[in-house]
């Protein structure tokens, strides 16, 4: 693996983990009766930015390296489901996340200007669903790495 690919892979993992942690922060803070929406909208936009960064860096690694060097080793190894289910599900389920988190950041920015209980509850549910999807993709990534 070249230093560029290693850097991209590390960026993908770190950006993704920080973004998922931010979704956790959002999910918890949105439970408060009067959350600080200035803080939460900043967290939301940072999470969105990090998911887009994670997507872009993973794309280069996945297309140029994973298919040639990693996938065949997983398929020939003792746990081919690491690719057949976990990688396939991870890479595709992830695709809904950047759009949903961007939309969450927009909702939090609206709440910053006009707090509303119904919108706050909807944003909280969206943050939680994104957190579950993000956690699944991260866990699947760990399983894929362990399958090599």
């Amino acid at each position: 693996m070249t230093p560029l690919l290693a850097t991209l892979l590390i960026t993908h993992v770190i950006a993704g983990i920080i973004a998922i942690s931010m979704l956790y922060v959002l999910s918890i803070h949105l439970l408060k009766r009067t959350p600080n929406f200035v803080f939460l909208s900043r967290i939301g936009w940072t999470a969105a930015l990090l998911f887009w960064l994670s997507w872009a860096t993973s794309a280069y690694y996945y297309v140029t390296y994973y298919g040639k060097a990693v996938k065949p080793r997983i398929l020939e190894g003792t746990y081919p489901a690491g690719h057949i289910f976990f990688m396939e599900a991870k890479e595709h389920v992830f695709l809904v996340l950047p759009f949903a988190v961007l939309s969450l950041a927009v909702a939090l920015s609206m709440l910053r200007r006009t707090p509303d209980e119904k919108l706050k509850r909807a944003a909280q549910m969206l943050a939680f669903v994104c957190l579950v999807i993000g956690t699944f993709t991260a866990a699947a990534g760990i399983i894929v790495s362990g399958s090599v």
């Binding site: 289910f85 595709h92 809904v96 961007l102 927009v106 909807a122 549910m125 669903v129 699944f136």
Partner: protein, 109 residues
């Protein structure tokens, strides 16, 4: 009070994200089951996964722009936007479950 930038574009972005999730839940199994379409994605975007992502980006930004233009004079109550975000949450969750279920049956059943 004048609506903020995010109040103006919010409903369009939520609707676009909702429809993009539904689009992906249909597009991905269709591409996996239709070799001709999957090969077209590969040939056009160098990799089928990049193709799916590019089409999702296209759908999301196209719909965001279209809805923003259509609703530029519409005044949205925060409660109505709340219902829209709740619908988006439901469909994002269902789309993710659809994809998970599809790849589970594809791998194990």
């Amino acid at each position: 009070m004048q609506p903020s930038f995010f109040q103006k574009i919010g409903p369009a972005v939520h609707s676009a994200a909702l429809l993009t999730a539904v689009f992906l839940a249909g597009l991905i199994p269709y591409a996996e089951e239709t070799p001709l379409f999957k090969n077209w994605l590969k040939a056009t975007f160098t990799h089928h996964w990049l193709g799916k992502g590019a089409l999702a980006l296209l759908v999301f930004f196209f719909l965001s722009i279209i809805f923003s233009a259509l609703w530029r004079n519409k005044k949205w109550e925060p409660r109505a936007i709340g219902r829209l975000v709740a619908a988006e949450t439901l469909l994002v969750g269902l789309s993710a479950l659809t994809l998970l279920g599809y790849f589970f049956q594809h791998a194990f059943l």
